[in-house]
């Protein structure tokens, strides 16, 4: 469902020939774009083509059939396929091909009829119970519960037992079976649609209920119902043919695929071709509607999984190869806990690789904290993930340069070595502690796991160490907490737990990605003070990614300012903040204390101009379009400024010396 464009036009115009239509809705121009969306998927195209194929067979059966489907011939029984009888003949000498073609009418007719019955009863029931609520809702839902207490086919069987075996009764039976599904879905989507503000609006404006339902609710739920119809068509067809197979559906001599399969059962040993064709037609038609349903779902159901772009793997391998060669070129090992050299990281997008980190070199010494600041989209989090060896697999990769952690060059390590590196040397603290903890495992499980991996500690030792870790991060009652689940802790506590986990194996490097931005101000200070404390005790190097300049000033030793995937200014925090040389740093600093404090903002203050679009950077200096210093000088457009020492720090601006003038 599209909720963004509510009242413009009905959503549903795409139908396949044999699909049941949604109830009447206000006329509107056809939405061909949705048909196109369906056809663009292989599923949708094959599904729709097959559905049309079946529709044609069913509609033109009398003309397609080569023989009279009822004509018996006792001199030609049970013949194998031949040029006269394409699919052979059955036990009464009837032409199987003609019977299958004619049977398409019955089989598909039952499917359509069944879905229609379910739709016509189920949808109004669902909409009504959502709309009126109260007793109607209660009764409907109880009835649905009761109906769902029977297996589908058993329920249909019971209905047929009462009414007698015939095609009409089968339609009614399989239709009735699907009523609960339609009623439930219609109820659920109606409820969510009714909760939309624009609908509440039109109700309060005095629109009649019928009008609201016809005009707003139905168009919105039509897509979902259409999807459901297609999927249910497949299962209805199978259930109905199942009844036919049991001899309780369409009665002989009328041809129906399920009934034909049932008749063929006695001849499976001697004449398997009888079962082959009827079964094939049945299975493929169910497949067709399932395919179409899937395609429809990906168009109409916002929660449907999206198809991932193909070929990601191949590209990634290529990228890794490049990185490998580059790193071989400058393989000098580094003694620092963290070092990157001319690091490039690219994401795979629909239009090919997109570099979001474009040549970053940095180095963090033991016991020091480097803060990376920048707007969102500047590539700072990607940089951190690259160092953490946690780039999303298959979607991003190091495309150039090198990362060295604890003296080991990351690109040269195999999977097992990377695991060792992560375990022993790297600790990671993510932005959102709530999603960084697994909701279904206890805290004890999760901390214990960090201790247990790759070690041979006894359960008792793991327990006592877990308790010690929790004590380290100032969590009271650690023994009791171990058995608790993440949702039982506050945000600040969760972040402490994450830190405890990160510290479990005494890492040399702690990587913290906006560790406090989800927390309120007082907790923020506590967490950072805790990190600094831990750093002093253990001598770790910390990489702190943040957009909060206040935190940088208080807790970091060095700072790197990132813009559009590059570091544009770097140096000791005090120096950089006292006398920024890059116009971007300058505007950050100038707008930070006053504006942010006044508005109570914790995020980076807005600076003039559009944030950079990493896919469409200008030539030369990426900051040029927003720069107040450039003033149209041609050098800025011609050459990318490199980081160079200016004053006490390094700056990537051609005219850095103009600062302070």
């Amino acid at each position: 469902m599209r909720r963004s464009e509510p009242a413009i036009a009905p959503q549903m115009q795409v139908t396949a020939g044999t699909l049941p239509q949604a109830p009447e809705i206000a006329p509107a121009p056809p939405r061909w774009s949705q048909l196109r969306q369906i056809l663009r998927q292989p599923k949708g195209m094959i599904g729709l083509a097959l559905v049309l194929f079946y529709a044609v067979i069913a509609l033109f059966a009398p003309w397609i059939a080569t023989h009279d489907p009822y004509a018996q011939s006792f001199i030609a029984t049970l013949q194998p396929p031949s040029s006269t009888h394409w699919f052979g003949t059955d036990e009464l000498g009837r032409d199987v091909f003609s019977r299958i073609v004619t049977g398409a009418r019955t089989s598909l007719g039952i499917g359509i009829g069944g879905v229609l019955v379910a739709f016509v009863i189920g949808v109004p029931l669902g909409v009504l119970s959502a709309w009126r609520g109260g007793k109607i809702d209660f009764l409907t839902m109880r009835a649905v519960d009761v109906m769902l207490s029977f297996p589908d086919i058993v329920f249909a069987l019971a209905v047929v037992a009462v009414l007698g075996a015939s095609t009409q009764n089968v339609i009614f039976a399989v239709g009735l079976v699907s009523v609960p599904v339609f009623a439930r879905t219609a109820r659920a989507v109606t409820l969510s649609t009714l909760a939309e503000p624009y609908i509440e609006g039109s109700v309060s404006l005095g629109c009649s209920p019928t009008r609201v339902v016809l005009r707003h609710v139905l168009p919105n739920i039509a897509g979902i119902l259409l999807t459901l119809s297609s999927l249910l068509f497949a299962s209805t067809l199978l259930t109905a043919s199942g009844l036919g197979f049991l001899g309780l559906g369409t009665q002989p001599p009328n041809p129906e695929w399920g009934t034909m399969l049932g008749e063929s059962r006695s001849y499976i040993r001697t004449h398997p071709h009888l079962a082959t064709f009827a079964g094939l037609f049945l299975a493929v038609s169910a497949l067709a509607f399932n395919l179409l349903g899937e395609a429809l779902r990906s168009v109409y159901d916002p929660s449907a999984p999206k198809v991932q772009k193909r070929g990601a793997g191949a590209w990634m391998n290529g990228a890794r190869g490049i990185a490998q060669r580059l790193s071989d070129a400058d393989a000098a090992a580094s003694a620092a806990p963290v070092e990157t050299r001319n690091l490039h990281v690219a994401y795979l997008t629909e239009d090919g690789p997109l570099e979001v980190v474009r040549g970053v070199s940095l180095r963090i010494e033991a016991g020091r904290t480097l803060a990376i600041v920048g707007e969102s989209g500047s590539g700072k989090s990607t940089l951190l993930r690259a160092i953490a060896t946690l780039l999303p697999q298959g979607r991003a990769a190091i495309s150039g340069g090198s990362v060295t952690v604890g003296g080991q060059q990351v690109e040269r390590l195999n999977t097992r070595q990377i695991r060792e590196l992560r375990r022993q040397k790297i600790g990671v603290v993510f932005q959102d502690a709530a999603s960084a903890l697994n909701p279904v495992l206890t805290i004890g499980d999760q901390i214990g796991e960090a201790l247990r991996t790759g070690s041979s500690l006894s359960p008792d030792e793991i327990r006592s160490r877990s308790i010690a870790l929790l004590e380290d991060v100032n969590i009271s009652d650690p023994e009791k907490r171990l058995a608790m689940y993440p949702h039982q802790f506050s945000g600040g506590m969760k972040q402490r737990i994450i830190i405890a986990m990160a510290l479990a194996q005494d890492p040399q490097v702690l990587l913290a990605d906006e560790p406090t931005s989800a927390l309120d101000v007082t907790i923020q200070q506590q967490i950072l003070a805790l990190l600094r404390d831990m750093q002093r005790k253990r001598g770790m190097a910390i990489l702190l990614v943040t957009h909060d300049l206040g935190l940088v000033a208080r807790y970091a030793d060095d700072v790197g300012v990132m813009y559009a995937g590059r570091i544009v200014e770097a140096g000791e925090v005090a120096e950089v903040f006292r006398a920024p040389r890059h116009p971007y740093t300058l505007s950050l600093r100038d707008s930070a204390p006053s504006v942010a404090a006044a508005r109570g903002l914790r995020s980076l203050p807005a600076i003039p101009g559009e944030p950079p679009n990493i896919g469409k950077l200008p030539d030369g200096c990426a900051f040029r379009p927003r720069c107040g210093r450039c003033d149209g000088r041609s050098l800025c457009a011609e050459a990318v400024p490199e980081l160079r020492p200016v004053g006490a720090q390094t700056t990537a601006c051609h005219f850095a010396e103009e600062t302070g003038a």
Partner: protein, 308 residues
């Protein structure tokens, strides 16, 4: 406490279901007394039998009679064989359960494995093949698949028997056939739920502890799809019990599905009533068990229940 509440909620459903089954089967055309008496019996003899079966009593009494049949095997007797329905059912139930449980187990194992492979190998040919197979599995009429299996393994290759329930070998083909659908369903479920959690931070947290990718998937990612998997397993198990109606016909297995089909085609109404009731009973129990397992698995829900 919650368990008791949940049990209490299931009882009214069972009551309504039993009422429905009673009333429903009452509508079946044909006179049960005449069927029991046989075509040669005189009208008077039929009346005597009718009286004995309590068919002349008013509705509520007959319902009580029907419910009584649940506890007293002598009340409910098959019109065709004259044996107690309870005996008929309990003789056949093991066969049905073996196939359903075996099929579910096989389906879950196959489905979970292929689902994981699919999620990890998105966009590769393996993914494509598995996706096509699962769609095929969902679209496959089990009776056709059964016939194909019989033709291939029993007739053509002669490896396994085609029909009957005498030895374990008789159960191989039916279990294979019924496992298709749960396997396909599980495969899709596991793929979808893995893809959903794939980008979550807690997987990276787990990786940063130095876990292997397999540990990350099995311990952390899959754990979250467990809840959905359990409820799907419940639905599939119920569907397979219902599907026994067809499977047992295809493979000629004496189970309750076959019993019901035969009863319907012969208007053996006590057997229809009680076997349908038993299906419904199983369904309600499965739903109950599923709910309880879900509760046990998901700590967040457990707390909600306690808070209530």
């Amino acid at each position: 406490m919650f368990v008791l509440n949940r049990l209490a909620a299931a009882l009214p459903t069972l009551f309504i279901v039993s009422l429905l089954v009673f009333w429903f089967v009452d509508l079946i055309p044909g006179d049960p007394a005449r069927i029991l008496a046989g075509p040669m019996a005189s009208q008077d003899e039929v009346e005597v039998i009718r009286d004995r079966m309590g068919l002349n009593e008013p509705g509520p009494q007959r319902y009580l009679h029907f419910v009584g049949g649940l506890f007293d095997p002598d009340i409910a007797v098959s019109l065709r064989t004259g044996r107690p329905v309870a005996t008929e059912i309990s003789e056949r139930l093991p066969n049905t359960l073996i196939i359903a449980i075996g099929g579910l187990a096989l389906g879950v194992i196959l489905g979970t494995t292929t689902g994981i492979i699919c999620a990890l190998r998105q966009g590769t040919w393996v993914d494509t093949v598995i996706t096509i197979l699962t769609l095929g599995g969902i679209s496959m009429p089990i009776y056709w698949l059964g016939l194909l299996c019989i033709w291939l393994f029993a007739v053509h290759l002669g490896w396994l028997p085609a029909a009957g329930a005498e030895s374990w070998r008789h159960f191989v083909l039916p279990i294979l056939a019924v496992a298709t659908r749960p396997a396909a369903t599980f495969s899709r479920l596991v793929t979808a739920s893995l893809l959903e959690v794939m980008g979550r931070d807690y997987l990276d947290t787990a990786r940063s502890k130095g876990l292997t990718e397999a540990q990350v998937i099995l311990r952390h990612a899959l754990r979250n799809s467990l809840v959905a998997a359990v409820s799907v397993a419940g639905v599939q198990f119920g569907a397979m019990l219902g599907g026994s109606v067809i499977t047992e016909t295809v493979f000629g297995i004496p189970g309750i599905g076959r019993l019901l089909v035969d009863a319907v085609s012969r208007a053996d109404y006590p057997v229809i009533q009680y076997s349908i009731l038993m299906f419904a009973f199983f369904f309600v129990v499965i739903n109950l068990v599923t709910d309880l397992i879900t509760l046990w698995l998901d700590p967040r829900m457990r707390q909600n229940v306690r808070a209530r």
